[in-house]
Amino acid sequence: MRCERNNEANDRDRSIMNSLPLTYNTLIVLTGTSLLGACAGLVGSYAVLRRRALVGDAISHAALPGLCLSFLVLGHRSLPAMLCGAFASGVLGVGVVAFLRWATRIKEDAAIGIVLSTFFGAGYVLSQLIQQHVTSGSKAGLDSYILGKTAGMIYSDVVLIGGVAALCLLIVVVLYKEFKVVSFDPGFARVQGWPATLMDLLLMTLVAVTVVIGLPAVGVVLMSALLIIPGAAARFWTDRLGKLLGLSALFGGVIGGVGTLMSAQFSWSPAGPVIVLVGTGVFLVSMLVAPSRGAVARFVGHYRFRQQVRQQNMLRLAYQLTEDDSREVFTLTDIMRHSSEPVDAARQILSQLGGLNWITSPKVDNYRLTDAGRRRAAELERGFRLWETFLTEHADLAGSYLDLDAESVDRVLSPQMVAELEQLLQARGRWPRGLAHSSGAAS
């Protein structure tokens, strides 16, 4: 009874799309897929954060044989029965993954790969079997579960999706704090008395239910994308779990809705791939332009850092050239003898240092450190030499310290250690000239 509706719905859809505004039917489909996307985005973010993203993929692929089997057993199409079958075989698939990990030395990714392809293979064979041998008029359309089809969605489907979405939202909100601690630090959560394993199971059940209700629209092959992409994209925009969940649900809803509209526009395109491609668009935009975590922001940050390091190195070189007080002025030729920078770059950096009032240029390609520049350079030099001495004198401790940069010595090492290293520098005549002695020991 569903397939007759399909054609009808397709025709209607096309005419609707050609003549926006939205009609009742489009609105139904749009609501359904948006709710589905939001729900998948919500529970999917936790799956991503728990590093269980691929479990969703295993569930959706493993659902296909159950779907086909319940069709075979019943002999006709019944959505609730088929979804129950899908849920059962999806959960069985995850169970097999867990069993393989527990009983053999196979790692989780390999186990997921094995289960996913085996179940999907079996499901596909079953679906072809049905195409060949079942003669009732309702066999057509099983294929649509592989890549998804939104056009057939009716009011009762949307109610089902809405119900599941509401349930997921309720659980995620009510158990927000519990899921937060279990996801971040399961060991700590267990010591605190939270049933981490049960909560993981609950989370995976929500994922499984979401996957199953999403199968008719998005299909088994690409359903996991709707779980993973919104959360992964939202992570670029925020550092807080609450915001991440909200944003991920929003992204999921938009991806589902826009994907549906686009796929309905072109009747030859299955919904799953179109929805995923829209998701990819959202992900790409997030990855590129998000502030601080986005690729552009990171590139700019990295460039600035590189500039800073190159300026520091140039300033130190200028200091080293004039440290012995034999001269004040140094030339570009002196610099080029010791620097790895190309000439043009060296000139550019020197002019940047001039802009900071750390060096002046009495005449072309001749330079001199200003008083401020000399002080700054001597401090930098002290930091570098202290680290250098620390790394050679205390190689055994060195591995346990992070944050090695010129300005971090006094922050990271103890005052006693800094004093000891400063004495060593002085004894070896490596103390930066013109710098007041033992500033670290005083604190």
Binding site: K177, V181, G187, F188, Q192, D239, S400, L402
Partner: protein
């Protein structure tokens, strides 16, 4: 907690504990009883089962045999009195939570199901953060902290648990001097408040300085007791075998200990 007579149950009572991974035992027949509040260091070579011992105490790994009682009852019923500092590497520091969020997690146990941390918990978490010198970092994402600061965040979270028994897995591994000092002071304060603290520790040189009691472990319990009488060259040899560098380190520590006595 101040006075412990023979009638009160031991703070920690580990009896006959064996832990095996894939049928390969990693801890054999561990017996250990702590009756008085103390600062206790757990030491031993890599792979000696130090972390496994505390995970066994906490119920995080299944026991092949044995029982663990805390204050007279099975550990599973006493989780509220235990504060836990796991190894820093055990979590994903890119997780989208702030420093204050993590410290607040320490209050979750007392809040129980469904209740959200409110103003009182926030205030308490801030105090705990201030205690470890991280008050200014409350709103940072945890990945933006240095290693030592991350370790201190975990300590603040354990403080927020308001526990009686604290169990810490290598809180001083790979941290800066400032953090090591904070940890040391914190251990002293907890001890003064009559708490018991078990610390897995790797640096033999600081054992006599930090710990009143010591447990020396090498898959089995080599020795346990007051540091002054237990942390001896003989026991070190039994624990570490003939590894020279380690014994040198311990020799330094022993000399330092003698000097300070």
């Amino acid at each position: 907690m101040e006075t412990t007579t023979s009638s009160t149950p031991p703070i920690l009572d580990i009896h006959d504990v064996t832990v095996a991974y894939q049928r390969k035992p990693v801890l054999w027949d561990i017996d250990l009883t702590i009756t008085q509040p103390t600062l206790l260091g757990i030491i031993g070579p890599n792979g000696a089962g130090k972390s496994t011992l505390i995970k066994a105490i906490l119920g995080l790994v299944p026991l092949a045999s044995g029982v663990v009682n805390v204050l007279g009852r099975p550990v599973a019923q006493q989780l509220r009195v235990i504060g836990y500092v796991p190894q820093r590497e055990s979590v994903d520091w890119d997780f989208p939570v702030s420093v204050l969020d993590v410290v607040l997690m320490g209050t979750y146990g007392q809040l129980g199901w469904f209740r959200r941390p409110g103003h009182a918990e926030r205030e308490w978490a801030r105090q705990c953060l201030e205690h470890v010198g991280l008050a200014d970092f409350a709103n940072r994402q945890i990945g933006q902290l240095s290693g030592g600061q991350q370790q201190r965040t975990f300590l603040a979270r354990a403080l927020a648990q308001r526990a009686e028994v604290y169990i810490m897995d290598e809180p001083m591994a790979g941290v800066d001097a400032a953090t090591e000092h904070v940890v040391f002071q914190l251990l002293q304060e907890l001890r003064e408040q009559g708490k018991t603290v078990l610390v897995v520790h790797h640096d033999l040189r600081t054992v006599p300085k930090y710990f009143e009691q010591v447990v020396m472990l090498n898959m089995r319990l080599v020795a346990a007791g007051p540091t002054a009488t237990t942390f001896t060259t003989d026991n070190l040899q039994k624990t570490y075998g003939g590894r020279l560098t380690v014994l040198d380190e311990a020799g330094d520590a022993l000399r330092a200990q003698q000097r300070s006595e």
